[in-house]
C-alpha cells in the first residue's frame, strides 16, 4: 500500500513540477579523464541484465573495445530471477552488482523505495531522453524497450491461417501448436500478462490454458522454439529475438493485433553499494550512448529512446503499432494475483 502511495506521489511530482523534480536529480555528468582513470583502477564492472545473453555479451565487447582496461562481467537471467537475486543479495548484505537492468518496471520502483539505487544522470539522458522514460529523481532511466509479440512460422503456417487478434488464439485449430513464456521468470511476460488481463479479463487466460500450450521460462525462448520448429506459433516473446532470427533467415512473421501489443520497458540503474562505483558510472553512461543504443537496435533488435538511433527499414516503426503501456505502480499490487491465477490456469 505504501508503495502505491509512493508511486502516486512520484507520478504527481513528475507530472506537475517537472522542473522542480528535475532539480532533485543530481547534475548530469559525462565521462571525464579523472573518472575514467579511477574506473580503470577498479578494472571491472558487474552487469546484472535480463537482455538476451548474446546481445548483452556483444554490448560488453563494444564497451571493452571502447574502454580497454575495464572488463565487463555479464550476469544474465530472466528479469524476475535478476530481481530475486538482487533482493536476496541486498537482504543478506552482499553487494555484487554494479549496474542492474530488467524489463519489469516494477523492480525499479521497489529498488528505489528500498534505497538500493545510486542516483546519477548521464549527460545524454538529460539531453535526449523523453521525460516519461527516466526517473525524476535520477535513480534510473529506460535503457531499452521491446514489445511482447505474437508471431508464427510463415513457412509452416499460411498467412490465411494465422491469428489476427488475441482471442483468435482460443480457436481449437491452434491447440498444441503454441508456446509461451512464464510471468514468474520473465518481466516482459509479467508486464504483458498484466496488460492483457486488464484488457481481456482472466477468463481469456483460463481458456488459453486449455489449449495445450508449451510452457517455457524466458521471453527470449518462444522465438527460439519457433526457429527450432518445435512449435509454429508464439503467444508471447521478445520482439527483438524475432528480429534477430529474421536476420538469420528464419521465416517468422510478427502479428500486431488491433487490440494492441504490450510494451515492456527495460530500466537500468547503478546500485547504491556498487563494488566498482567508478567503473559503474562509466558503464552506465555508455549504456545510453548512441553507439550502444545503435548496437542494441542493429544487432539486438531492441527499441531505443535515443532519438538519433536509426532503425532498420525492415522493422515496423513503433508509431505504426498500437502499443499497450502498463502502469508499474498498479502492476506492483497485482503480482501475487497474477502468479496465483497463472498457476491455476497453466499449471506452473
Amino acid at each position: 500500500m505504501r508503495s502505491l502511495k509512493f508511486a502516486a506521489a512520484a507520478l504527481a511530482v513528475s507530472v506537475f513540477t517537472v522542473s522542480a523534480s528535475f532539480a532533485q536529480a543530481p547534475a548530469p555528468y559525462s565521462v571525464s579523464p579523472d573518472l575514467l582513470e579511477a574506473a580503470k583502477k577498479e578494472g571491472k564492472v558487474v552487469f546484472y541484465t535480463a537482455t538476451d545473453v548474446a546481445v548483452a555479451e556483444k554490448l560488453a565487447e563494444l564497451f571493452e573495445k571502447e574502454f580497454p582496461g575495464i572488463d565487463v562481467q555479464v550476469e544474465r537471467a530472466g528479469s524476475e530471477r535478476v530481481f530475486q537475486r538482487v533482493g536476496q543479495e541486498y537482504s543478506s548484505g552482499i553487494h555484487n552488482a554494479d549496474v542492474t537492468e530488467t524489463s519489469d518496471a516494477v523492480h525499479f520502483l521497489y529498488f528505489k523505495k528500498q534505497g538500493w539505487l545510486e542516483p546519477m544522470v548521464p549527460q545524454v539522458v538529460a539531453d535526449k531522453w523523453p521525460e516519461d522514460e527516466k526517473d525524476p529523481d535520477g535513480n534510473f532511466a529506460a535503457y531499452r524497450a521491446h514489445l511482447s509479440v505474437m508471431a508464427y512460422r510463415s513457412d509452416l503456417m499460411p498467412e490465411a491461417d494465422a491469428p489476427k487478434t488475441w482471442t483468435d488464439l482460443l480457436d481449437p485449430k491452434y491447440k498444441g501448436k503454441m508456446v509461451k513464456a512464464h510471468p514468474g521468470y520473465s518481466g516482459t511476460v509479467m508486464t504483458a500478462t498484466f496488460v492483457l488481463s486488464e484488457l481481456l479479463g482472466w477468463d481469456y487466460f483460463e481458456k488459453l490454458g486449455k489449449q495445450n500450450v508449451m510452457q517455457v521460462q524466458s521471453s527470449t525462448e518462444p522465438p527460439k522454439k519457433l526457429a527450432q520448429g518445435e512449435r509454429v506459433l508464439e503467444v508471447d516473446g521478445n520482439e527483438y529475438n524475432v528480429f534477430r532470427l529474421q536476420d538469420d533467415g528464419v521465416q517468422i512473421k510478427i502479428v500486431y493485433p488491433e487490440e494492441g501489443t504490450p510494451l515492456a520497458v527495460g530500466n537500468a540503474a547503478v546500485m547504491k553499494q556498487a563494488p566498482h562505483p567508478n567503473a559503474a558510472k562509466v558503464f552506465y553512461a555508455f549504456l545510453f550512448s548512441l553507439e550502444a543504443q545503435q548496437l542494441n537496435s542493429d544487432f539486438g533488435g531492441l527499441r531505443s529512446f535515443h532519438p538519433d538511433v536509426k532503425e532498420k527499414a525492415t522493422k515496423t516503426p513503433l508509431s505504426k503499432i498500437k502499443v499497450l503501456h502498463s502502469d508499474p505502480a498498479k502492476l506492483e499490487t497485482q503480482i501475487q494475483t497474477i502468479k496465483t491465477n497463472y498457476e491455476k490456469y497453466f499449471g506452473t
Partner: protein, 577 residues
C-alpha cells in the same frame, strides 16, 4: 638400565601426548559434523513455524501445506513419478544385471563399464538430451519416424513433455543403482545352492525362479528404493521436462517459492514431508538390506554358474543394446550433434556443421571461465575434505578408539536423509544472514557439497577399513607411534586405492550437483551445472551441449583415472543426483 627406562619414559611421554590428539580430533569432528547436519535442520524447523508476512510463531505454513491444492498436487505427482521410476528401473535393470552376471553374453565387461558411464551423466544433462531427442515436433526420434513412414508433421511418436516422458527420462539415469546392487548380489550367490536345485531335477527356469531370484530380492528392493529416493528428491530433470509440460513436482514447487519476495516459511514447511519420506525410505532400505546376510550364507564357494545361451543369445543382445542405446548412445549422440549444428532442427550435413556454439561458449560467454574454475576448485576441495574427514571418522569408528565414536559414524551418515533441495533451503536459512554472510561465497557451496557427499565417502572408507586387519597398526603402535601417525604411515597407504576411488566419486558427485546448488549460487559463485540450467531457461541448447560435453569430458577423465585403480570395480557411488 636407566638409559632404557629413560627412553621408555620418553616414549610413553610422546605416546601420551600424541594419543591425546585423537580426543581433540574426535571432539572437533563431532562439532563439525553436528554443525553441518543440525544447523540447517534446526533452521528449517524454526522457519516452518514462522510467518512469511509478519513475525511470531504460527502454524499457517502447515495449514497452507495441507490445504493448498497446488502443493498437494505437486507432492502427489512427485510420489507417483518416483514410484513409476523405481518400478521401471527395477524391471529394466534386473534382467540386465542377470545377463551380465550369470550368462555367457559376450562383452559383459564392456556393458558394466557403459552402465557406469550413465552413472556419471548428470541427470539434468540427460533430460536436456531427451528434449532434443523426443520433443513432439523437432525431436530427432519423431523426425526420423515421420521420414521413414512418410507421415505428416502432426504425427507424434514420442513426447517427452508428459508425465510418462519425465518418468522415462529419469529412469534412464537411475536404473544403474538397481543394476549395480543386483549384479553385485548375483556375483555373490553361491552356485552350490543352484547346483542343488538342478540335482533335485529343477530345470534352468525353476532354479532361476525358486533359488536365484529370491536370493537377490533384497538387492532388487534396495536398489529400487534408492531409485525412488533419487527421483523424489531430484530437481534438474523435472525442472527441464515438467515445467514445459505444465506441472510442478515438489522440488520445483519449493524452488518456485524462492521467487522474490521469497516465502521462506512455506518453503521450509514444504520441505519437511520430503525429509520424512526420505527417512522412511532409508529405514525401509536398511531393514531390507539387513536381511541380506542370508544371500551369502554359503560364502564364496566357487565361481557363479553361467547360463549358456543357444539361439536366445540374439534376443539378449538386442535387449542390452536397446537399453544401452536409450541410456547412453542416443543421448550422447544428440548432445554432440546439437553442439555442432546451428539449431536443433537442422539435418546433419556438411553445410549445417558449425563451431558457432563452441566459439560462443569458449570465447564470448563471459561466465564460462569463472564457472569452470569454480566447479573444478569446489570439486577438488570437496573431494579432498570429504575423503580426509571420512578417513579419520571411519578409522575412529571402525577401531573404536574413542568412546562414543559410534556417534560420529551416525553423524557422518545422517546427511543421506536430507534431500539436496531441503539442504539448500536449510543452508540458505542458516548462512544467508548478516551474522554469517556466507551466501554469495564459495564457502556455502563447499559446506553444502561436503554435507551431501560425506555419507558416500564415509560408507566407502569404512567398508575398506573393515578389510584391513588391525595387526599391522598394532605393530606400529607397539613401536611407539601414535594413532594418527599409524593412520598416516601404515593404514592410509594400505588403503590408498580406496582413498583415491572415494576421492574420484566425491569429485564426480560434486560437479553434477544441482538441487542444492540452484538455491545457493550467486553471480560470483556460478558453477557449470547452474549456467547449463540458466542457458536452458533461455533456450540456448547449442551452448548447453558444448558445456555439457566439456563437463562430461572432465568427469570421464577423472573416472578413467579412478578406473586405473583396481579396487574400484563394485565401489558404491554417491547416492545423490
Amino acid at each position: 638400565m636407566s638409559a632404557v627406562s629413560a627412553t621408555s619414559a620418553d616414549m610413553a611421554e610422546t605416546r601420551r601426548k600424541s594419543f591425546d590428539l585423537s580426543m581433540p580430533i574426535f571432539i572437533f569432528l563431532a562439532l563439525l559434523l553436528t554443525a553441518l547436519v543440525a544447523l540447517p535442520l534446526f533452521w528449517i524447523i524454526f522457519y516452518s513455524f514462522r510467518s512469511d508476512t509478519g513475525a511470531g510463531a504460527t502454524l499457517e505454513n502447515f495449514v497452507t501445506l495441507v490445504t493448498d491444492s497446488t502443493l498437494l498436487q505437486a507432492y502427489g505427482l512427485a510420489i507417483g513419478m518416483s514410484l513409476a521410476v523405481g518400478l521401471l528401473s527395477c524391471v529394466v535393470a534386473t534382467p540386465m544385471a542377470w545377463l551380465v552376471a550369470r550368462t555367457d553374453l559376450p562383452g559383459r565387461k564392456w556393458i558394466r563399464m557403459l552402465v557406469t558411464a550413465s552413472f556419471v551423466t548428470p541427470p539434468f544433462l540427460g533430460a536436456i538430451a531427451y528434449e532434443i531427442l523426443a520433443a513432439p515436433n523437432t525431436g530427432l526420434a519423431n523426425v526420423v519416424y515421420r521420414k521413414i513412414f512418410g507421415l505428416d508433421q502432426s504425427t507424434v511418436l514420442v513426447n517427452i513433455y508428459t508425465f510418462s516422458g519425465l518418468v522415462f527420462a529419469i529412469a534412464c539415469f537411475t536404473f544403474p543403482y538397481v543394476f549395480t546392487l543386483v549384479s553385485n548380489a548375483l556375483d555373490k550367490v553361491p552356485s552350490d545352492l543352484e547346483d542343488a536345485s538342478s540335482i533335485l531335477g529343477g530345470n534352468a527356469m525353476t532354479t532361476l525362479r525358486k533359488v536365484t531370484i529370491p536370493m537377490v530380492l533384497p538387492a532388487m528392493l534396495a536398489g529400487t528404493l534408492i531409485a525412488i529416493l533419487q527421483s523424489l528428491t531430484m530437481f534438474g530433470s523435472p525442472a527441464i521436462i515438467a515445467l514445459p509440460a505444465g506441472f510442478h513436482v515438489i522440488t520445483t514447487k519449493i524452488w518456485s517459492l524462492f521467487q522474490f519476495p521469497p516465502r521462506l516459511g512455506l518453503a521450509a514447511a514444504s520441505a519437511i514431508p520430503l525429509l520424512i519420506l526420505t527417512i522412511i525410505l532409508l529405514q525401509t532400505q536398511k531393514a531390507i538390506l539387513g536381511r541380506k546376510g542370508y544371500t551369502v550364507l554359503g560364502g564364496k564357494s566357487g565361481s557363479p554358474r553361467l547360463t549358456k545361451f543357444g539361439r536366445w543369445k540374439w534376443v539378449a543382445i538386442a535387449f542390452v543394446l536397446t537399453v544401452l542405446s536409450l541410456t547412453i548412445f542416443f543421448p550422447y549422440l544428440a548432445l554432440v550433434k546439437t553442439a555442432f549444428t546451428n539449431t536443433v532442427g537442422d539435418p546433419l550435413t556438411w553445410d549445417t556443421l558449425t563451431l558457432k556454439h563452441w566459439n560462443f561458449v569458449l570465447f564470448e560467454f563471459s561466465a564460462t571461465r569463472l564457472a569452470m574454475w569454480n566447479t573444478m576448485l569446489l570439486g577438488v576441495l570437496t573431494a579432498t575434505a570429504v575423503t580426509a574427514i571420512a578417513l579419520v571418522v571411519s578409522y575412529l569408528v571402525v577401531r573404536r578408539s574413542v568412546t562414543g565414536s559410534k556417534y560420529l559414524g551416525l553423524l557422518a551418515t545422517a546427511p543421506v536423509a536430507i534431500p539436496g533441495i531441503v539442504l539448500g533451503v536449510g543452508l540458505f536459512l542458516s548462512y544467508a544472514n548478516p551474522t554469517f554472510q556466507l551466501y554469495g561465497t564459495l564457502w556455502i557451496l563447499l559446506i553444502a557439497f561436503m554435507t551431501i557427499e560425506l555419507p558416500a565417502g564415509y560408507q566407502q572408507m569404512s567398508s575398506s577399513f573393515a578389510g584391513v586387519h588391525p595387526e599391522l597398526e598394532e605393530a606400529g603402535r607397539i613401536l611407539g607411534a601414535s594413532r594418527m601417525t599409524t593412520l598416516r604411515h601404515i593404514t592410509a597407504p594400505l588403503l590408498r586405492t580406496s582413498v583415491v576411488a572415494a576421492w574420484c566419486f566425491v569429485f564426480v558427485g560434486t560437479i553434477r550437483e544441482l538441487s542444492a546448488t540452484i538455491l545457493l549460487t550467486t553471480a560470483n559463485t556460478k558453477l557449470v551445472s547452474v549456467i547449463i540450467y540458466d542457458l536452458n531457461e533461455s533456450g540456448d541448447l547449442g551452448a548447453i551441449c558444448v558445456l555439457g560435453i566439456l563437463l562430461l569430458l572432465i568427469s570421464f577423465a577423472v573416472v578413467y583415472v579412478a578406473n586405473r585403480v583396481p579396487v574400484l570395480g563394485g565401489a558404491q557411488m554417491s547416492t545423490r543426483g
